[in-house]
Amino acid sequence: MLDRIRGRLRTFEKEIVITIVHIRGYLRRLQRSPAFRYLRRDIRAKVGGVIVLLVVFTAIFAGFIARHDPTTQNLSNRFQGPSWEYPFGTDDAGRDIFSRVVYGARTALIIGTLLVVVQTSIGLPLGLLAGYRGGKVDNLIMRLVDAVLAMPGLIIALAFVAVFGPGIYKVVLALAITGWAGCARLMRGQTLAIKEETYIEAARAIGEKDRTIIFNYVLPNAISPLIVMMTMTFPAAILLSASMSFLGLGVMPPTPDWGYDLNAYKKFMGDPMPAPLMTILPGIVMVITIFGFNFFGDALRDAYDPRLRE
Amino acid sequence: MSEPLLKVQGLKTYFFLERGVVKAVDGVDFEIKKGEILGLVGETGCGKSVTALSIMRLISSPGKTVEGKVIFEGEDLLKKSGEAMRKIRGTKISMIFQDPHTSLDPVFTIGYQIAEPIELHQVEEQHLISAKEVPKKVVEMLKLVGIPDPDHRVVEYPHQFSGGMKQRAMTAMMISCNPSLLIADEPTTAIDVTIQAQILDLMRDLRRKLGTSILLITHNLGVIAEMCDRVAVMYAGNIVEQADITTLFGSPKHPYTRALLEAVPKVGAKRRELKTIPGMVPSLITPPPGCKFHPRCPHAMDMCREEFPQMIEVGKEHLVRCYLYSGASKK
C-alpha cells in the first residue's frame, strides 16, 4: 500500500519535471523568436511595457501601495492639497485621492481582463467556425459580425446598464455584447488564410481529424494577431468603462472607479471651490495607463508583422 | 564608329541595410549603340534589375548609387538634377517592368495612364502635339501594341485586362513618347508563352521601325538568343562576360557562362541528369574574396581567390572577367 503511494508520488514528480522542462524550452524558443527580438529594440515596447507592468503591479498590490483606505471619509480633512501623506490630496469627503486612484487601477484592469476573457470566448469560436467551415455558415456569421460592428458600442452598453443595473460584471457584459465582433472577424480572417496553407492540405491528406487540425495547426498559427487584439482590448475597455462610469451608468460606489471619481470631482474645477488638481491628477494617471497599453500594443503588432522585417 | 547611345562606367549601387551593405551592383560597365538590342542575363538576384533602376535613377533609400557614370547621349545622368532626370524618364529612356499585374495603377483607366506621359512630355514640355490630339494618340498606341478594339478598351480599368494585354498596355505607355532607349525588365516572365512571342515581336518591330535601342533583362537564355544583338552576363553584381550573340553561344569563355548554357536542357540530349551549377549564389553583403565565382568554379586557381579579376579582351568586342585568359591583353 505504501509502495503504491510512493510509486504515484514518483510519477507525479516526473510529470512536474517534464512540465518545467517544457516551459523552459518554450521560453527559450520565445526568446529566440523574431517578434521578441524586435520588441527588445523597440522603444515603444520598452516604455509601454514598463507602464503596463507598473499598472498591473499597482493593481495587484493595491493594498500595499495605497496608504489609506479609499473609502474612509474624514470630513475634517477635506480638500487637502498634495502632500507626502496624501500624494494626490483629499477629496470633498476627506478621502485619499491617491488610494482611490490606485484601487481604481485594480477596477480598470479587472474589467479589462474579464472583457478579454468574455469577448474571446464568444468571438474566437465563432470566427473559427466561420473561417473553417466557410459557405453558408461563414456567410451567416459574418453578416452578424458586420451588423454588430456597425453598432455604436457605447450606446448599447449604456442601454444594457440602464436595463440591468450598474456594477463591474454588468459593465463587462455590456461591453462584450458588441466587443466580441472584432475578435470574431480577426479569427475568421486568420482561419481562412491558414486554411489555404499547404501544411493543412498535407494534414488532411494523411487523414487527420478536423479537431486535431484546428487545435494543433490552426490555433497556434493564429495566436499572434490574437494576442495583439487581446492587448488592445485593455485600453478600449478602460476608456469605455471609465466613460460609462462617468455618465453614471457603469461602476458605482463603493467600488472605486476612475470615471466615477472624475465625474464627482468635476464640480470642483472652478468657482466657487477651485481644486482642479482633483480632476487633473487622476486623469493623467488614466491617460498614461491607456497610453502605455496602446504604445505597447502598437509595438507588439509591428513585431508580428512579417512585412516589417528588413 | 559613332558614339554609343548609352555608356555605363563603373556603376555601383549599394543597399544600406541594418544587417549590412548589400552590394547589388558592384562595378558594371557596358555600352549600347543606337538601334541595338543588348541582353543582360543572369540568375535572380545578380543585380540586373538594380542596374536598370540605377540607370533610370529610380533607386530609393536604403539604396544609393554610390559611384559610376551613366552617359546617355553624351551627358552623365547621375550628375543631372532630379527635375532634369524626370524630363528624361518616360520620354528619352523608358522602362517596362516585370509584373504587369502590380505595375498598373488599379484606380485609373488604361487610357488615362497612357495619356499621362504623352500629356506631360509631348504636350506640356516639348510642345510637339496639342492637348486635343492626345486621345487619338492614345488609341493609336493601343493599336500599335496590338490591343483589339482600342476605342472601347481605352476607358477600361487594368483589372479588366488579361495579363498579356496589361503587359502590352504598359509597353504602350512607355513607348508613347518615342524613347531612344527602352529598358525591358523581364518582360516575358509573368505571361504565357504564346503572348511572350507577341511582346517580343512588338519590341523587334520598334527597333526596326523607330530605331529604338533596347536593354533586355532576362534570365531566359532562349529569349536572349532570339532577340539580342549582344549579350552581357551578370553574376553577383558584376558583368563577367560580354560578346555578340553568335560568339557568346558559340564559344562562351567564362566558366559561369558555360555552366549556364550547359544547364539548359536540350531536346535529344543523351544525358539523363540535369546539369546544375554546384554551390549557392554568394551573399552580396560579404561576397567571396577575389573572383566572386571562384567557390563554384571548376577551374579556380590561387589567383582567383586573391584578387578580383578585371575584364580581358579575348576577341572582337568579346570581354571576359576571368584569369583563365590573362594571357590575352587586359582591358
Binding site: R143, D146, A147, L149, A150, M151, P152, G153, L154, I155, I156, L158, A159, A162, V163, L239, A242, S243, F246, L247, G248, G259, L262, M269, G270, P276, T279, I280, G283, M286, V287, I290, F291, N294, F295 | R86, K87, I88, R89, G90, T91, S94, F97, T102, S103, D105, P106, V107, E116, P117, L120, H121, E156, Y157, H159, Q160, F161, M165, M170, M174
Partner: protein
C-alpha cells in the same frame, strides 16, 4: 455597382427588424415596466393597485408580441374598456409616433426633433474637422517617414487616441473656459457657435489622431507598390505621383474605415453633450437612462434615442459600403476582360 448597393439595401430590412425588436425589448426586460413608469415620475407611493392601473393604462398587460406590434404600427389601438389610456398607448413607430414621455409630459418625437439636429451638427462638424486634420497629418507623416516630424506627429497621435473624451472635455473646459476665458461656460440649452467649438474640437482631435495613423499606414503601404514606381518611371512630377496616384489608392481603405468609425464618434458625441451641456440626443438619452442608479428613467425616450442612434449607425455603414463601391473600380465596373 448597383447590384452591390441593392443587395445592401435589401439587407437593411431584416436588420431594421432585428434592431427594432431589441430596442423594443429594453423596457420589458427591466422586469416591471409599470414600476419603471412610476419611478420615472417620481412616485414613491407604489401599491399593487396603482401598478396594475398603470400596467393597464400603458398596455403592459398585453402579450409581448401585441405590445411590439403596437409599438411598431399602432395596431391594435387602445381599448379603453381594458383600462388602456389612449394618450399613452403607442400609435406606431412607422407612423412617426415614438410614444409619450412620462417624465417630461411631451411626445418623445418632438423632444427628439429638437435634439437631433444639434447632435448632427456637433457630430458633422467634428467629422469634417477630423477629416481635414487627420488626412493632412497622415499624408505629411507618411511622406516624411522616420523623421522628427513623423515621430512627433505619430507620438501625439497615439496620445490623442489614449485620452478619454470626457477627461479631455473637462481639461478643455478647465483651460479654455476657466483659465483663458476664451469661451463661455457651457450652459444647458445653449447651442450657438461659441458653444459648439470646444466640444466639436475635442471630438475631432480623437478622430483626427486615429485617422492620421490610418492614413499614414495606408500611404506607406501604397508608396511601396509597383505602380508608384511605374508612375515615376513615366517621368511624372512627384506631386502627381503622390497626390494623384498614391493618395487616391490610399484613400480607399481609409474612407471605409472613416465611415465605420462613425458609430464610435456618435458614442463620443453622447459624452461630449453631457460634459458640455450640449442640447442634443445624447444628453437627452443619458438623462433618460437615469444616472447614478437613479430609478427615474424614461423608457420611451430611451427606446427612441437608442433606435435613432442605431439607425444612424446602420445608415453610416451603408454609406461606407457605397463609398467603397464607388471608389474601387473593381466593384464599380465589375470584373471583365
Amino acid at each position: 455597382m448597383y447590384g452591390f448597393i441593392l443587395k445592401r439595401l435589401l439587407l437593411l430590412i431584416p436588420i431594421f427588424f432585428a434592431v427594432s425588436i431589441v430596442v423594443f425589448l429594453l423596457l420589458p426586460l427591466t422586469g416591471d415596466p409599470a414600476r419603471q413608469v412610476l419611478s420615472g415620475q417620481g412616485r414613491m407611493d407604489v401599491t399593487p393597485e396603482l401598478l396594475d392601473n398603470i400596467s393597464h393604462q400603458y398596455g403592459f398587460h398585453r402579450p409581448l408580441y401585441i405590445q411590439y406590434l403596437r409599438w411598431l404600427t399602432g395596431y391594435p389601438p387602445a381599448d379603453p374598456g381594458q383600462g388602456e389610456n389612449v394618450l399613452v398607448i403607442p400609435r406606431g413607430l412607422l407612423m412617426g409616433d415614438f410614444g409619450f414621455s412620462y417624465t417630461r409630459s411631451r411626445p418623445v418625437a418632438s423632444l427628439m426633433l429638437e435634439a437631433l439636429p444639434q447632435t448632427l451638427l456637433l457630430t458633422f462638424t467634428a467629422f469634417i474637422l477630423s477629416l481635414v486634420i487627420g488626412l493632412l497629418l497622415g499624408i505629411f507623416s507618411a511622406l516624411r517617414r522616420k523623421t522628427l516630424v513623423d515621430y512627433t506627429f505619430m507620438g501625439t497621435a497615439i496620445f490623442g487616441v489614449s485620452i478619454p473624451f470626457f477627461w479631455q472635455g473637462l481639461m478643455m473646459i478647465l483651460i479654455f473656459v476657466n483659465w483663458l476665458k476664451w469661451f463661455p461656460i457651457p450652459t444647458a440649452g445653449e447651442h450657438g457657435l461659441m458653444y459648439l467649438i470646444l466640444p466639436a474640437f475635442t471630438l475631432a482631435t480623437h478622430s483626427a489622431a486615429s485617422l492620421a495613423r490610418m492614413t499614414r499606414s495606408s500611404m506607406l503601404d501604397v508608396l511601396r507598390q509597383d505602380y508608384i514606381r511605374t508612375a515615376r518611371a513615366k517621368g511624372l512630377r512627384e506631386r502627381a505621383v503622390i497626390y494623384k496616384h498614391a493618395l487616391k489608392n490610399a484613400f480607399i481603405p481609409v474612407s471605409t474605415l472613416l465611415f465605420l468609425r462613425l458609430p464610435f464618434l456618435f458614442g463620443g458625441t453622447v459624452i461630449m453633450e453631457v460634459v458640455f451641456s450640449w442640447p442634443g440626443m445624447g444628453r437627452l438619452l443619458v438623462s433618460a437612462m437615469g444616472a447614478y442608479g437613479s430609478p427615474a428613467k424614461d423608457w420611451f425616450i430611451v427606446q427612441g434615442g437608442v433606435l435613432m442612434f442605431l439607425v444612424i449607425a446602420v445608415l453610416a455603414n451603408l454609406l461606407a459600403d457605397i463609398t467603397y463601391a464607388y471608389l474601387n473600380p473593381k466593384i464599380r465596373y465589375g470584373e471583365g476582360g
